[in-house]
């Protein structure tokens, strides 16, 4: 994106400040699960806008199809039948896909410079031409979202339609959602909209309705309105307190520069030892 290249907040495997002259609107997509009818129109819109076509699969005894995210399915609906209140069945349907974390684990884990960028507006985008296919983004993601293509070994996921957003349009899934369960706008507006929805849900008997915008990853630019915000796991295992794995943090934080330094020091130590202590030489002697 020519314009978005001016608004980069973070860039994978890059240790200097990327261009960040402008400060455009911080955006967010709000998915209101209480309004979602699971029609999968968002899946179709995603496939159509991005020209993706997954395999015609099989039925595994559930409504979920395709069964999981793939390099061709950047969003899938996940269906959960739960009874939070005894005798009151609920069919919770969650649109799964990239959450566009404020603190993106994928970007943190990625070793290829510029393969993952986070725009100032909050979108975390994969630039597959820089992707080397190592799959480290998978280990970095607390939501298990990126998928490596079997065809080209690049990592793929929802772009939040960064191409559409760049020209002032909403993501394709938002545009197509027939019930308005998916809305898009500034993050502040989305939070405000969610508050109205949560008040409505509370009036309808969902005492624990709330917004899913987890702090552990600095908040997300894809948020959910949940009827049971106290139990996000009900929604096909949405993590209650997602955070970048400490293993990833351990390995990607200060550790690596220190380790690199260690390697450099070892080389220098040898050099200065040679200079100071000198080589170990043995005089040739005559052997009788």
């Amino acid at each position: 994106m020519a314009l978005q290249s001016l608004d980069i907040k973070a860039r994978s495997a890059t240790t200097t400040q990327p261009p960040a002259a402008r400060d455009p609107l911080h955006v967010a997509k709000l998915i209101d699960i209480s309004k979602c009818i699971g029609c999968k129109a968002c899946q179709v819109a995603c496939m159509e806008w991005n020209d993706l076509r997954d395999e015609v699969g099989t039925n595994a005894g559930i409504y979920d199809n395709p069964r999981d995210l793939t390099d061709q399915s950047w969003t899938v609906m996940r269906y959960s039948e739960v009874e939070v209140q005894q005798g009151r069945l609920e069919w919770l349907i969650r649109k799964d896909g990239c959450m566009h974390c404020e603190d993106p684990g994928c970007l943190k884990a990625c070793p290829a410079p510029g393969a993952i960028v986070q725009y100032v507006n909050g979108i975390v985008d994969f630039h597959e031409e820089h992707c080397i296919g190592c799959g480290y983004c998978i280990t970095g993601c607390p939501f298990n979202v990126p998928r490596i293509s079997k065809k080209d070994s690049k990592a793929y996921k929802c772009t939040l339609c960064s191409d559409r957003v760049a020209v002032g349009r909403e993501p394709a899934c938002v545009k197509t959602c027939p019930t308005g369960a998916i809305v898009f706008g500034s993050k502040r507006d989305m939070i405000e909209h969610a508050e109205g929805r949560i008040a409505d849900l509370k009036a309808r008997g969902y005492a624990n309705a709330g917004l899913y915008n987890p702090e552990g990853v600095g908040g997300t630019h894809v948020m959910y309105v949940l009827q049971h915000a106290d139990q996000p796991e009900l929604y096909a295992g949405l993590p209650k307190d997602p955070h970048i794995s400490p293993l990833v943090g351990l390995w990607k934080g200060i550790t690596k520069p220190l380790m690199s330094l260690g390697i450099g020091l070892a080389v220098f130590a040898g050099f200065f030892h040679y200079v100071t202590a000198g080589p170990k030489e043995v005089e040739d002697e005559k052997v009788d």
């Binding site: 979602c36 029609c39 129109a41 039925n59 005894g61 019930t179 008997g205």
Partner: protein, 811 residues
């Protein structure tokens, strides 16, 4: 729909029953979410399955498939017993006060006049008492024992909450909770909308289910008001247009009816249909029947139709028997049909009892398929292994496939559930040799006409005289056809009060059906559509969504029949003095100053009839009021009565246990050989029901890759309890058998299909989605109508796809 999609946003309570709007009408369903968001509306779903609609509902009540009359009858009983009705509305705008003939009776599950031999009623006793003045007799105090109110109260007193629970399997507390929510809308400032679809129509008593729903709405004063109404969600994008244009065997365009064999006399034909008012001061709009009929004949036969030949009445076919879908396949099976033209229709999948349909098609000499896709019907003669196990060598039917365009490859109008005629424009060129349907029909017609011209024939007149004034005869354009439906003046139309004044000049398009004449000076191919293409142009193509009254009626968006009216019976939204019952939802009101009705909608009323004149809102009825008592209009009786599906897990009808003749509808037509094909609960203990999924559209989208990706493979849904009993786990393959055949599919084991306690025994439901077949891109599957019984509704003959008996086993 009496109302329309957008209007649903105006409601306080949505009852989805006999339908699954979120699943089958996701785009229209957005208006439910609007009502919830902006009016704090509640959504109640009553369904055999916990559907996608139920997923976003405020309350869900389970019900056994096919027992909706019992449920709604229970609601009527609740409303009457607890007196939770809209008194003024009911008193003035319905037939509650009308006295019924003394001969009318109901006992043992049967109404008066039943003949068990023919399985038909003599309906002569089903009528109002007519006074010496020729008008129906009423008792405004509602005290007379023969008044509709008293009869109805007695009839539904049997539908107690206990009875509802016994028949429907709905827990009593859930039923009462639904009743209470519904009853709240009896208040003048509260309303409810009922959204239903094929879950009501596809029963042997489907029409009566819908009527029962309408009666509930009438009791609550919810008909004719914004956010109210009886809203049929049509299963095809243009199925509303199909019935409007009379594409049913017994109809002419605009719900004019074909004459029966006995009706050879034109004047008698008209007189029977142009009903005179049954109460003083009423409009009885069908009095204008002749105007509509003559204009139709002029559209069809032009100058050949004249007063002297009764406007070609003799050229119209007279019904000697039924020619509905089931009838035709019965006849076909008996070898009485030579050829069948199948246009945009896939009966091998869509008509019940696949084996019977297949056998019938095999007896044809020729079959013509006009369709954009290679349908199962077009390939019915091919062996597709287990999915279509036939022997092509034994089928002599010659099949012609004429590829046609799909909706996106042509201009034209579609009529949505809300009766909007919406023009659409071609988006892409059709592939290959595909041609539009009108081009194909024109090609056939022109060749047939040429043959008649050349060779004569037994009855050439209707063919030779059919109007065919198209610029390109082989390609009647959508615009030409639309203008023909809408209608034009054939001569100058003068003002009857001032013969010197020309209202419409000869050749001009008409602006309303009020301009139609019965003297041959106007033509209109469908009176209901008159005005949709007026001198102002193509009003169906309008796309102005301005909503000046903020109540979502958008009169300049497309064109809504009749007369661009958005909400039918909207006069009933006002009290007898002409003031809106709910000023916040004002549709129209009487403007005394202007001396006419007006407001956000086109008044469904005589525009200048002041309230004092006492004209009532239901102007299409000769009574001027809505009917609780259906008089002689319904096959099963004037009051809806619960009858079991033809395949029922029960041995007796709990409402009339002593009479085995009324276990199932006594007035439904069953062909002789089909009785033996019905299964019994000893061998087929579970209730099967078929339905659509949101991922697919009927049998079309399995040909589309995107949809095939979303729902690739056939499955059936089984409740957890039944699955446990049968040792079936999610993902297993199961065989579902009825007495007519079996299908094999993947099992989806779910809590959403609940085990119901029906008449003291556990009843399991097996859900059978219908979208797969042996053609297309999705995984091949069985046509689900392999399972369904060959019986239909007693009035419409719509097949009973929603309730039948099956057994299920792990493969």
């Amino acid at each position: 729909m009496t109302n329309h999609w957008v209007d649903i946003k105006n409601t306080d309570l949505v009852l989805i029953m006999g339908g699954n709007a979120a699943e089958a009408h996701p785009c229209g369903f957005k208006w439910v979410t609007e009502a919830k968001a902006h009016r704090k509306a509640r959504l109640i779903v009553v369904d055999p399955r916990f559907t996608r609609s139920a997923a976003v509902s405020d309350f869900y009540a389970p019900i056994r498939a096919g027992t909706d009359i019992a449920f709604l009858g229970g609601v009527i009983n609740y409303l009457l017993t607890n007196d939770r009705i809209h008194h003024e509305y009911v008193k003035h705008y319905t037939d509650m006060s009308f006295l019924v003939k003394d001969e009318f009776s109901f006992a043992n599950g049967l109404f008066s006049g039943y003949d068990p031999e023919t399985r038909k009623y003599d309906r002569s006793s089903w009528g109002y008492q007519i006074g010496a003045d020729g008008y129906a007799v009423t008792d405004p105090a509602l005290q007379h024992p023969r008044c509709v109110y008293q009869l109805m109260k007695a009839h539904y007193s049997r539908y107690t909450p206990e009875m509802v629970s016994t028949v429907c399997g709905t827990p009593q507390d859930a039923f009462l909770k639904v009743c209470e929510a519904i009853a709240e809308t009896a208040a003048a400032d509260r309303t409810m909308t009922i959204m239903y679809a094929l879950g009501w129509t596809q029963h042997s008593v489907g029409s009566q289910m819908i009527r029962t729903g309408a009666m509930v709405q009438l009791l609550l004063g919810n008909i004719g008001v914004a956010g109210g109404g009886m809203n049929a969600l049509r299963g095809h994008s243009n199925i509303q247009g199909l019935t409007d244009l009379g594409l049913l065997a017994n109809l002419l365009p605009g719900y004019l009816t074909l004459a029966g064999d006995a009706e050879q006399d034109y004047q008698a034909y008209i007189a029977k249909r142009a009903s005179k008012p049954l109460r003083p001061g009423q409009l009885s709009y069908w009095q204008n029947y002749a105007k509509f009929h003559v204009s139709l004949m002029k559209a069809w036969f032009g100058d050949a139709a004249s007063a002297s030949n009764d406007w070609c009445y003799d050229w119209l076919p007279k019904m000697d028997k039924g020619y509905d879908l089931l009838d035709v396949f019965e006849d076909m099976g008996q070898g009485k049909v030579n050829g069948y033209v199948c246009q945009g229709f896939n009966p091998l999948g869509s008509a019940p009892c696949k084996v019977k349909v297949s056998n019938s098609l095999s007896k044809l000499k020729f079959l013509v398929i006009i369709d954009p896709l290679a349908t199962e019907t077009s390939e019915f003669w091919q062996n597709h292994g287990e999915y279509n196990d036939v022997d092509p060598a034994k089928i002599q039917t010659e099949v012609f496939r004429l590829p046609s365009t799909c909706f996106a490859e042509e201009d034209g109008s579609l009529i949505n559930s809300g009766r909007w005629l919406q023009w659409h424009w071609k988006a892409a060129e059709p592939p290959g040799e595909a041609r539009s349907d009108q081009e194909i029909m024109a090609g056939l017609f022109l060749r047939i006409r040429a043959l008649y011209e050349k060779e004569g024939g037994a009855f050439p007149e209707p063919i030779l005289n059919l109007t065919w004034k198209h610029r390109i005869p082989a390609f009647p354009s959508p615009e030409e056809l639309a203008k023909e439906f809408s209608g034009k003046a054939l001569k100058d139309l003068t003002d009857p009060k001032d013969p010197g004044k020309v209202l419409v000049k000869a050749g001009e398009q008409l602006s309303a059906f009020a301009e139609l004449r019965d003297d041959g000076s106007t033509s209109s191919g469908c009176w209901l559509f008159a005005g949709c293409w007026s001198e102002k142009g193509n009003l169906m193509a309008r796309r102005d969504n301005a909503d000046p009254f903020g109540i979502g009626q958008t009169l300049n968006w497309a064109y809504s029949w009749p007369a661009n009216r958005r909400i039918l019976y909207n006069r009933a939204s006002c009290d007898p003095s002409g003031k809106p019952y709910d000023p916040t939802r004002k549709l129209i009101a009487w403007d005394a100053g202007a001396g006419k009705w007006g407001g956000a909608d086109v008044p469904d009323f005589k525009i200048d009839s002041a309230p004092e004149e006492g004209m009532n809102p239901f102007i299409m009825n000769p009574e001027g009021v809505a009917r609780f008592f259906a008089v002689d209009k319904m096959a099963e009786g004037p009051f809806p009565e619960h009858y079991e599906p033809f395949e029922t897990p029960l041995a007796e009808n709990p409402l009339s246990p002593q009479n085995p003749a009324v276990l199932s509808s006594p007035a439904a037509r069953v062909f002789k050989d089909d009785w033996a094909t019905f299964g019994k609960p000893d061998k087929f203990p579970y209730v099967g029901t078929t339905y659509r999924l949101t991922e697919h559209f009927h049998f079309w989208t399995k040909h589309a890759r995107l949809n095939a990706i979303l729902q690739p493979e056939q499955f059936v849904e089984i409740g957890e309890e039944l699955a446990k009993e049968k040792g079936i786990r999610a993902g297993d393959h199961v065989r579902v058998r009825s007495n007519r055949g079996h299908i094999v599919a993947v099992a989806v084991v779910t809590r959403r299909l609940m085990t119901l306690d029906v008449a003291g025994r556990k009843t399991h439901t097996v859900g059978v989605p219908l979208h797969w077949g042996f053609m297309g891109l999705a995984k091949n599957g069985y046509l689900t109508n392999t399972l369904t019984p060959f019986v239909g509704d007693g009035n419409t003959q719509t097949p009973e796809f929603k309730a039948f008996l099956v057994d299920v086993e792990k493969v």
